[in-house]
């Protein structure tokens, strides 16, 4: 079946190498940068020969940056903590709300079910600011402006449709006969849901949860508009850090590395689930 000429194989190899360089180089470069002091970063021409140092990470983790001009406090670790709280909290809430609803949509055709499912889906595609800007005014009235809960609630705009639609597809793939047989054997609805439906849809729930976590972690605009300074996640925090620290390039690079490391690690660990989830069940990878 292999009727490729040597030339074609070479061209393919070169094209593939270019693809890898273009997509991997920025990540490699930022990691290298995070291991350098400002002096080696500012060398011209740039060079890959340097003595790696962990001082940028040490400064971020200890939260204090000693410069010639004096000490600077960095709140970056609390940003990282906020990201963890917000992402884990929103995914947990979205699973609790979304999985039963997905089951209801998959198993029972009831009046309005399609309308609800579609409204949720179409809001996934609506401009987020449309909802966020009125919410800033509401949040101040409701006293939610300075809370994790307010943000976690708004994050459902990202997480809930994702979980609802992916998990629904998985429930639809399970034959209802298995559940029916278990019901006839005298088990309650709840036991059937817990012991049969949930485990069978497990991989789908995991894929949806992972994807929701990554989208929540990577979100920028929600937190930029709604989060007060002490509730900001890394995406907003890193940007504020650039403005505040200005020329501490090594620390900025280290902050970016720490911010993207969790999602990249998750992506590599669970890549098979992600590919399935990303296509929203449109194609089974």
């Amino acid at each position: 079946m292999d009727h490729r000429s040597l030339l074609e194989r070479w061209l393919r190899g070169i094209a593939l190498a270019l693809v890898v360089v273009f997509f991997m180089f920025p990540i490699l470069w930022i990691v290298l940068m995070s291991l350098q002091t400002n002096e080696t970063i500012l060398r011209s021409p740039p060079s890959v020969v340097f003595t790696p140092t962990l001082q940028n990470y040490a400064a971020l983790i200890s939260g204090r940056l000693e410069t010639e001009a004096g000490a600077l406090d960095i709140a970056f670790m609390s940003n990282l903590m906020n990201s963890v709280i917000l992402s884990v909290g929103s995914v947990a809430l979205a699973l609790v709300l979304g999985v039963p609803a997905a089951y209801a949509f998959a198993r029972h055709r009831f009046r309005g079910s399609e309308d609800i499912a579609f409204t949720l889906l179409s809001f996934r595609f609506a401009p987020p600011l449309l909802v966020l800007l009125p919410l800033t005014l509401y949040f101040q009235d409701l006293g939610l402006a300075d809370t994790y809960f307010g943000l976690i609630w708004v994050y459902q705009l990202i997480c809930l449709p994702l979980i609802l639609w992916i998990v629904r597809g998985y429930f639809e793939d399970i034959s209802p006969d298995i559940e029916l047989a278990y019901r006839i054997a005298g088990h309650s609805w709840w036991a059937t849901f817990r012991r049969i439906a949930l485990p069978l849809a497990g991989p789908g729930i995991a894929a949806a949860g992972l994807l929701a976590f990554i989208f929540a972690w990577n979100n920028f605009i929600f937190a930029l508009v709604l989060a007060s300074a002490d509730k900001q996640p890394v995406t907003v925090g890193a940007l504020a850090f650039v403005t505040a620290s200005g020329i501490q390039y090594g620390q900025i690079a280290a902050a970016v590395v720490l911010s993207i490391a969790p999602t990249l690690a998750l992506a590599l660990w669970a890549q098979r689930y992600l590919v399935e989830g990303l296509s929203l069940g449109a194609v089974k990878g």
Binding site: L16, V20, M24, M33, F125, F220, V256, V283
Partner: protein, 305 residues
């Protein structure tokens, strides 16, 4: 005894009827929670409402929208948003299709590369913009250095009006091309092999196989992926805001950046809301087309597997 089982069964049936509503009630409430601010935005868009002038607030009905007709800022926003969306999606489609064709065979190297390409997609767009901002820094950025070597010593990337669009489009391509690639690769690998074998037997050249067989059969995937990206791209905020905040000047004032700045800097809530409603109308039309396409594709993938 029959009576008691009868009531028990009726109770069961009632429970069966209520159950789906009970299960989806929280999701329904979340839905309403989203619809309320949406309604408020529509209401604001019909008002003369500046946060800095609360005494001057009142209904002005369609004035915010009518004002757009003679507002060069609005037309600039519309033009930039459409340019950005079609430029990014077009380039990502071509690149994504090319890479998917390169990776079509399931070899070990190809699988490793396709896993690697997940990494840009999993990077937060705002942070990706930050990474490229460092890479294009005039003092030490590697891309500025490379541009200098290639004969553009004064390339200022995001800071110059002539290259700002190029810079943000580059970041968008870096982040989202893998998405196109993943969908199209899954599509390519799901195509039946018989037409290709038949064409090979008949001696059809391979570039003709691509135009006559691969492309038409892949079309539903291409359409779904492009529409999905178009929906996201016309609303791009993260990359542009993190890179240049819509600048320099108004070079990159796409819808959401313009609306954000109108709300928080000019505190003109009415104009900001009206801008977003227009963007919403565009995405609403697009998303309806997309959902229809996607459901058809999904049903077909189900039928095959």
């Amino acid at each position: 005894m029959t009576a008691t089982t009868g009531t028990a069964r009726r109770r069961l049936r009632v429970a069966q009827g209520v159950l789906p509503y009970l299960l989806s009630l929280p999701a329904l409430l979340a839905c309403i929670g989203i619809l309320i601010p949406f309604g408020t935005a529509v209401y604001y868009s019909l008002q003369r409402f500046r946060l800095s002038q609360p005494w001057n607030r009142g209904m002005n009905w369609g004035d915010n929208y009518i004002a757009f007709l003679g507002d060069p800022g609005f037309w600039n926003t519309l033009r930039i948003s459409l340019t950005y969306a079609f430029l990014t999606v077009g380039l990502e489609l071509v690149l994504g299709l090319g890479i998917a064709l390169l990776l079509q065979r399931r070899t070990r190297i190809n699988n490793a590369v396709s896993i690697m390409l997940l990494m840009p997609l999993m990077t937060a767009p705002a942070l990706a913009a930050l990474m490229f901002k460092l890479m294009t820094n005039p003092n030490f950025g590697i891309l500025s250095y490379v541009a200098g070597l290639l004969g553009f010593p004064d390339m200022r990337w995001g800071a110059s009006p002539s290259t700002a669009l190029l810079t943000v489009v580059m970041v968008d391509i870096w982040v989202y091309t893998p998405f196109m690639m993943i969908l199209l690769l899954a599509g390519l690998r799901s195509l039946p092999s018989q037409p290709f074998e038949a064409a090979a037997l008949d001696g059809v050249p391979r570039w003709q196989q691509f135009w006559r067989i691969t492309l038409p059969m892949l079309m539903p995937y291409i359409l779904t992926a492009s529409l999905f990206r178009l929906l996201d791209s016309i609303q791009q905020f993260d990359i542009i805001y993190a890179m240049t905040q819509g600048g320099p000047g108004d070079t990159l004032m796409v819808f959401q950046v313009e609306a954000y700045l109108t709300f928080f800097q000019s505190t003109n809530v009415g104009r900001s809301a009206a801008l977003l409603i227009i963007l919403w109308a565009i995405t609403f039309v697009l998303s309806n087309i997309f959902i229809k396409n996607w459901l058809r594709l999904r049903a077909r993938a189900r039928g095959v597997s």
